[in-house]
Amino acid sequence: MSDALRGLKDRLADVNALQAAAALMDWDHQCFMPSGGTPARAEHLGILTRMAHEAFVADETQRLLQDSHGEAETNEDRAMLRVVQREMDQKTKIPASLVAEKTRLGSLAHEIWVKARQDKDFASFAPALEQMFDITRQEAEHLGYTDHIYDALVDLYEEGATHADCVRMYETLKGPNVELVAALNAAEKPDDSFLYGDWDVATQRAFTETLIRAIGFDMERGRQDTAAHPFCTGFSVGDIRLTTRFKSYLPSAIFGSLHEAGHGMYEQGSPMAWDRTPLAGGVSMGFHESQSRTWENLVGRSHSFWSYFYPKLQASFPALASVGLETFYKAVNKVESSFIRVEADEVTYNLHTLVRFELESAVLEGSLAVKDLPAAWNDKYEAYLGIRPTDDSVGVLQDVHWSAGLIGYFPTYTMGNLLSYQIWNTMLQSVPDADAQIGAGKFEEVHGWLRDNLYRLGRSVPPKELALKLTGKPMGAEDYVAGLSAKYRGVYGL
């Protein structure tokens, strides 16, 4: 190995150590830290984040990276250099002054947003949001793009994705999805009132642990704890942490755990040899979300899954003894138009992101003014979901993303949905009896296929190339539209 490459890897290992420390501090803050620790933790976390950034963009790191190109002898090293170069470009193309400006505005806008949402008062948030769109536009100009300003932004979260890709994806999806939602909204709603109750927390914790262990989350190399919001983080390939939360709606913990375990299994599947290097982890937001959705929805909301686990759930929660499997299955697959994205079911979910994609594109293009967002938002909800938000707190003010400058992010959720079905269908060609296996509580083969064909690739293959390599075609909405329609028309007997 050349000196430059060795030197680069050493510096990246330092960056990785600082990032792992910061991730641990953040996880601990959300899971275990006593409340009084907040101010010092915020300061320490800020310093470590700054140190990681400085170590990464340091002249010396840039020089070593430069000198390493052409010296890589293995495919792994070449892939690593590609990943690092992309990140270096992203972090160095935007002037430090703009980054600082965005950080400053971000914390300010967040506070204003929290208050505006409380007060249901979009007008008080509009000036800050307008500035955030301005800064984001400048960011995009620095990052560069060929066709559409949105390209530069969505690429930050989903490498290689473009505005045109998003348009195409939603075009295929929109018609059938709006139609399906309308049909399901019109059908008789399954009763799910029995899912609400005073469920014992320790029993919920034990049951969710049983589930995530069963599907293949390795508890020797990870843990599950309780936090206000479910999330997945990791400090190394051998140490992936999930959180869940326990509510009066029983499925909340169950599907939260399965969702995060999907993220976690993807992370645990990177080769140990890549631990602490830029090649470990998930390749993009879309692919990451595809795996959380796979385990939450394709596996976790399937009939076969519950034909195996429902008796165990009933044993854990005797209140369900009188509720039959079919009733339970229908209840956890209930579809209903609602205002809030994070509470949406998998059928209506994409229409929520579609609204956001269309609106943020329009604002960036200049065809929609920030002040007109609330009305445009409500119109689109009415058109796509058949409901009109009663106020902005359940409308345009519901998400934290825009206040943080996360513009170009929302479509990656839907990409995850599409990819999950597309990858699942490919897997079925190799594991045709996957459904029967799941019904018998066996997940090794399904997990093994995903691990061997996707997880173990880490970040080594860029997402677009990976979709092609893995499924034989680019990411598309076809598998998803067909799969969703088949499943839910079945559930609802349409």
Binding site: D14, A17, L18, A20, L24, P34, A40
Partner: protein, 495 residues
């Protein structure tokens, strides 16, 4: 930018790195899954190396030099310079290679120890002890280079108790041994007593009882935690986040004393003066003084009649099987003297014998008059010589403590030095608050906590350990107060 500003910036960075390492250590011991070991060792080692690089940087050295010329005598600025100069000297002497070697080795040794201790597998730990003591010898050599040091161990004990020496410590221990033997003789002739506490108590209830107890005494739960871990320790990420652990055990006396011990450390850290937090003075002044506080709360407070007059009814509410027990009986049970194999939770009289054994063994290992091969037997021999009992296993012998696996060589004596200082400090406290025991009996611990905060805790590292002791009690460390305290206690617990 002024030198003070530069120091502030550099020290903030150092504090963040130190906090990260503390949290990594806490997480590894309390929660981390086994799969995280390798990466955690690497991460922690790299963070340690970064902290070391910062402490040995030219920028910090220049800054300290500049501050030294400007510091007013007797000011906090002067104390900062003193602490920084010592820290920089130690870090520069040790060198980055040794700091990283120790960080990496201790992380691996700890993981092996976790399994080796319950499995009674000394062979598994042997290579780790070899490495840890090789590192200790190398550290001693580097720290002693160009300095007048009588014995190589002097440089190691000085890391934990500034100014302490091998010979000086041995002399104090010899004095303690006389008192100890005299009192053990008295106790040996006393009739036996049924030990009502020698049974298994529910671990969860014990933990909850201790959480309630420490917060009632004065530990601020919003600024800390008490968790279960295989080894009891106290660490902190900031004075607002001080974490203690106690062991997974149903042994009431063990859990009570270990929790109160860690609480003593924690109270010190939680009550450092606000003006010192985030500065080089924002910590306990030495391990010895720290142990004086852990031992003070564990033994002098936690085994007092006043303490149990207040807490026994609460304990009985949790464990109804203890109803009927009187505070005076509880006081005697808590102070029951009985040679045992395990240091943690040992009674006050035999406790120090555990320390002498470790002290003598580690001095011999550093001086290479004892080999790691012969360590387990040497341990058992000394146990027999001092306490008349011989452990059957290494689990109850040389493997029982985490310290050597952590590379903490020179640490053990601070427990006994802490015992001595605790009684010196306590005598001073009781002369200003003579009715302390009545206060404890009615659940009032604030006068003790406030007095200790005022005289010790709030000062952080403003004074060296010997200066602090001189200021608080007006004399250097000695065995007199401790001997008086031990004799009084033996008399008070007579049947």
């Amino acid at each position: 930018m002024s030198a003070q500003d530069t120091l502030h910036r550099l020290w903030a960075d150092h504090t963040a790195l130190a906090a990260a390492r503390s949290l990594m250590g806490w997480d590894q011991q309390v929660l981390m899954p086994s799969g995280g070991v390798t990466a955690r060792a690497e991460h922690s080692t790299r963070i340690a190396a970064m902290a070391h690089a910062l402490l040995t940087s030219d920028e910090l050295a220049r800054t300290v030099e500049e501050l030294a010329t400007a510091a007013e005598p007797g000011s906090d600025a002067e104390a900062e310079v003193r602490v920084l100069q010592r820290t920089l000297r130690i870090q520069n002497a040790l060198g980055g290679d040794l700091v990283m070697r120790k960080a990496r080795a201790s992380s691996q040794a700890y993981e092996t120890w976790k399994l080796a201790k319950p499995a009674n597998d000394y062979a598994a730990m042997k290579p780790h002890y070899e490495e840890m003591f090789a590192i200790a010898r190398e550290s001693a050599a580097r720290l002693s280079a160009g300095r007048a040091v009588a014995k190589p161990y002097d440089a190691l004990i000085d890391l934990f108790e500034q100014g302490a020496t091998t010979d000086g410590t041995a002399r104090l221990f010899a004095e303690m041994r006389e008192t100890t033997n005299e009192l053990l003789e008295v106790i040996r002739n006393r009739p036996g007593q049924d030990d009502l506490l020698a049974r298994e108590f529910d671990q969860t209830k014990l933990l909850e009882f201790m959480r309630g107890t420490v917060s009632e005494v004065g530990f601020r739960m919003e600024n800390g935690r008490l968790d279960i871990c295989r080894n009891a320790f106290c660490t902190n990420m900031s004075p607002q986040d001080v974490r203690m652990t106690t062991r997974p055990s149903g042994h009431l006396k063990g859990i009570v004393s270990s929790s109160l011990h860690e609480m003593g450390h924690a109270l010190y850290e939680q009550n450092i003066g606000a003006e010192l937090v985030g500065t080089p003075l924002g910590g306990g002044t030495s391990l010895g003084v720290h142990e004086s506080q852990s031992r003070l709360w564990e033994n002098i407070v936690g085994r007092s009649l006043g303490f149990w007059t207040h807490f026994l009814p609460k304990l009985q509410a949790v464990f109804p099987e203890l109803i009927g027990l009187q505070p005076s009986e509880m006081f005697r049970l808590m102070n029951r003297v009985e040679p045992g194999f395990v240091r943690v939770g040992a009674d006050e009289i035999t406790y120090n014998a555990h320390i002498w054994i470790r002290f003598e063994l580690e001095v011999a290992l550093v001086e290479q008059t004892l080999s790691i091969d012969d360590l387990p037997e040497a341990w058992k021999d000394k146990m027999e010589a001092y306490l008349g009992i011989r452990p059957a296993t290494d689990t109850d012998g040389v493997l029982q403590d985490v310290h050597w696996a952590r590379g903490s060589v020179g640490y053990f004596p601070t427990y006994s030095l802490g015992n001595l200082m605790s009684y010196q400090i306590w005598e001073k406290f009781t002369s200003s608050v003579p009715d302390w025991e009545d206060q404890f009996a009615t659940g009032r611990f604030s006068s003790a906590l406030e007095w200790l905060t005022e005289n010790v805790y709030r000062n952080g590292q403003r004074y060296t350990p010997s200066d602090l002791l001189q200021r608080v009690v007006g004399e250097p460390i000695s065995t007199q107060a401790w001997s008086r305290g031990m004799r009084a206690k033996v008399a008070a617990t007579a049947p």
